[in-house]
């Protein structure tokens, strides 16, 4: 990765997360699920970086490793803190991690399971404030009211419980909670995929407004490419735990370099019926991350696969400035992007 070190907010290097498969009475480890396998990328301050892929491709695990909700197996997660230091989040102990929690927060996918049904909005949004030292109740109430206004909810609602709110409103509450500690990086794990399309637009607009207002950086995890195209500056595509392509949004959408990206783009719903026949239907199913195929993980389903694809694992190379791809044939293929 050539991007200059001092411009980056986050740099992930060779991140791996393997989950052991245990069997039998003694729970012996008989194999490993390579949920995230050698993933490297970077995020610049103030940008929205999207991570896309099918379900089970490791994008959520990657985001949770960055927040250290799960402990990565190996690799580095370099984060630039507010005071300019660069720390390796992956190597920190639980105690060292605590001050860092303020700087990275998360917006969850499911607005129903992400809010404790037994707490009022005041307690939910105020909890990060409370455990980080804002023990004065009046000050906390004031800040919660401010946060609720910020996300477009009435401050009078703070005595209510989550069950009184719709999915979109709950997602706003989740956003307010994430913003409580003035984070610099917000990891949004499919924040709109559980919502209706009309509500999705409202939440995305809110996120964009908050970004420009508060100078936030987003790591946006999604499977919906139309959403990603709308909000992100750069996009990375994951397949079975690996990055296959990473590029600025326009490049990725109009000149994809990886056959998997091409297939994904062709699956985006199009309102024009004449264009629909061009959809590429992938054969077979997603590779098993516990028992991946040899060489390029995508080769059994790739319509451009050559001999080398089943033998050698492609590495992520920078084909054009800022456009990284992991495909043996990337340079020779002419792939179709969004038309």
């Amino acid at each position: 990765m050539k991007a200059t070190q001092d411009q980056l907010l986050l740099e992930v290097k060779n991140l791996r997360k393997f989950f052991p498969i245990r069997r039998g009475f003694l729970q012996r480890i008989v194999g490993q699920v390579r949920a995230v396998d050698d993933v490297s990328f970077f995020i610049r301050p103030g940008e929205t970086f999207s991570l896309v892929g099918e379900s089970g491709c490791g994008k959520t695990t990657t985001s949770r490793c960055i927040l250290r909700a799960v402990r990565p197996t190996s690799g580095q997660i370099l984060f630039r803190t507010g005071d300019g230091r660069v720390v390796d989040v992956a190597a920190l102990s639980a105690d060292e991690l605590k001050p860092l929690r303020r700087e990275m927060q998360m917006i969850f996918q499911d607005p129903f399971s992400s809010l404790n049904p037994r707490m009022t909005l005041l307690d939910i949004v105020g909890e990060p404030l409370l455990v980080n030292g804002m023990t004065d109740r009046a000050a906390r109430t004031e800040r919660v009211a401010e946060l609720l206004k910020l996300v477009g909810l009435r401050p009078e609602y703070m005595r209510r419980f989550p069950h009184a709110f719709s999915g979109g409103q709950r997602q706003r509450i989740g956003i307010a909670r994430a913003l409580a500690l003035h984070p610099r990086l917000v990891v949004a794990d499919e924040p709109v995929s559980a919502l209706d399309v009309s509500v999705q637009a409202q939440i995305l607009n809110l996120m964009l407004d908050l970004q420009s207002e508060l100078g936030l950086t987003y790591l946006f995890v999604a499977h919906d490419l139309s959403v990603v195209k709308h909000i992100s500056e750069r996009v990375a595509v994951m397949y079975v735990g690996r990055l296959v392509e990473m590029a600025p949004t326009q490049d990725l959408f109009y000149t994809p370099k990886h056959p998997y990206t091409e297939a994904l783009l062709s699956a985006v719903p199009k309102p024009d019926p004449r264009l629909r026949s061009k959809r590429i239907v992938l054969q077979g199913s997603v590779a098993d991350p516990a028992n991946p195929p040899s060489g390029c993980y995508f080769h059994p389903r790739c319509r451009y696969a050559a001999d080398i694809c089943s033998r050698a694992t492609p590495t992520l190379v920078e084909l054009e400035p800022g456009h990284f791809v992991a495909c043996h044939r990337a340079a020779e293929l002419k792939l179709t992007g969004v038309v």
Binding site: R102, E127, K149, L153, L206, K270
Partner: protein, 398 residues
């Protein structure tokens, strides 16, 4: 690819109008609650919602009332009894239940008729003859044998009594047993014993179950495997032979109270496994919930996550599981005592009372000795219905 922007129409977001004061139009009122009832629901705690759902469960509500009555009996047992439950008299052996007449000459005046005992010269069986000429009026709130309410408040006032003659010679609402002890009075004390031994046992199992289940579910790994194997071993033990062995191991010279305590502990040491599994399951599910991850990311301590987030989420389940565990404890106490392994005379419990109805002779001659089975059935059913109601109310989707 069509323009996604078409779907994503910008709207007046709050931030665009930020500044002095917040007009009504700044907020998204997707479904503004208007009526008072809706407002009440919006601010209701989980406990209130649970109570509102429980209230709709009619059978559970009736059962709850039945249980309240049972526990009033537990508290006021000596007040409701009118004779010392230990007072025996061979002359009054196996008297049948005595009818109570409420009206006399058109006026409300509860009374009973005097009963005279004699021995049948042919069969030597004691027979009791009612003398309708001797009317004994019933009185309420009369002085009787002294007792201490809840073990502390001294009193000698009883709900029922008679006028003119000693109460033990005149009043036999549910008859007497082989030793001439009054069954009604004994039943009151038996209720006190049987319904509290269950609670004590459940409290101990609850503690063990939540503690071990919580450790098992929260820490997982080796500790989890170990605790789960112990639970499997405990559950695979045949209970009746185990109880018999343990009960036989209790020294016969122990006083009743100590035997009571030992039996309680024996029952509860085996009874915690079910609850431990429930608690472990809840912990495992909750650990994966997003709001727990959110609390971790907010920087909450482990203790705060367990006690502020996890425990309240399954407290209602524990209450329901406990309510369902109490009848099992009552049944085991009753069956143990019935078999002569649990409580033994002079202790009085439902099982001890039923033990007297074990043989065919007793059943043929004195079927009223089976009456203590009725409160056993009622209490167990009531607990089960309340438990069901609580479970449905706690988790309407489960």
């Amino acid at each position: 690819m069509a323009e996604p922007e078409q779907d994503l129409k910008p709207h007046a977001t709050p931030s665009s109008s930020q500044g002095e004061g917040w007009g009504e139009g700044d907020f998204l009122d997707e479904d503004v609650t208007t009526t008072e009832a809706e407002e009440r629901i919006s601010v209701a705690t989980a406990g209130q919602l649970m109570w509102w759902r429980f209230r709709k469960h009619r059978l559970a509500m009736v059962s709850a009332v039945v249980l309240i009555i049972f526990y009033l009996v537990v508290i006021f047992a000596p007040f409701l009894a009118y004779v010392d439950p230990e007072l025996s008299e061979a002359q009054r052996s196996l008297m049948p239940p005595q009818p109570v007449h409420l009206f006399r000459e058109g006026r409300f005046e509860p009374h009973v008729y005097a009963v005279k005992g004699a021995r049948d010269p042919k069969t030597f069986k004691r027979v009791y003859v009612t003398d309708p000429n001797t009317v004994i009026p019933l009185r309420f709130f009369v002085k009787g044998f002294p007792y201490k309410l809840l073990g502390v408040i001294p009193s000698d006032i009883h709900l029922l009594g008679v006028e003119g003659v000693p109460v033990e010679e005149a009043l036999f609402i549910l008859g007497t047993d082989l030793n001439g002890r009054d069954l009604w009075s004994r039943l009151m004390f038996a209720t006190q014993m049987s319904l509290t031994i269950g609670l004590a046992a459940v409290a101990i199992s609850l503690f063990l179950g939540v503690l071990l289940g919580g450790i098992s579910g929260y820490f997982s790994g080796t500790v989890d495997t170990l605790i789960q194997r112990v639970i499997e071993i405990l559950r695979s033990l045949p209970t009746i032979p185990l109880w018999m062995g343990l009960a036989a191991a209790l020294p016969g010279s122990w006083p009743v109270q100590r035997v009571y305590l030992a039996i309680t502990i024996i029952i509860s040491l085996l009874g915690w496994t079910e609850l431990a599994r429930v608690v472990r399951g809840r912990f495992l599910t909750l650990r994966e919930e997003d709001f727990i991850t959110a609390a971790e990311l907010a920087g909450c301590s482990r203790m705060r996550i367990i006690f502020r987030h996890m425990v309240p989420s399954f407290l209602s389940h524990i209450i329901a599981a406990t309510t369902l565990a109490i009848p099992a404890m009552i049944i085991s106490e009753t069956s143990l005592s019935f078999l002569g392994l649990g409580l033994r005379p002079p202790a009085i419990s439902w099982g001890v009372l039923l033990e007297q109805a074990q043989n065919i002779q007793a059943l043929a001659i004195s079927p009223w000795l089976l009456l203590p089975a009725i409160p056993v059935i009622l209490a167990v059913l009531a607990f089960n219905f309340v438990g069901d109601g609580l479970r449905d109310a706690a988790d309407p989707y489960g």
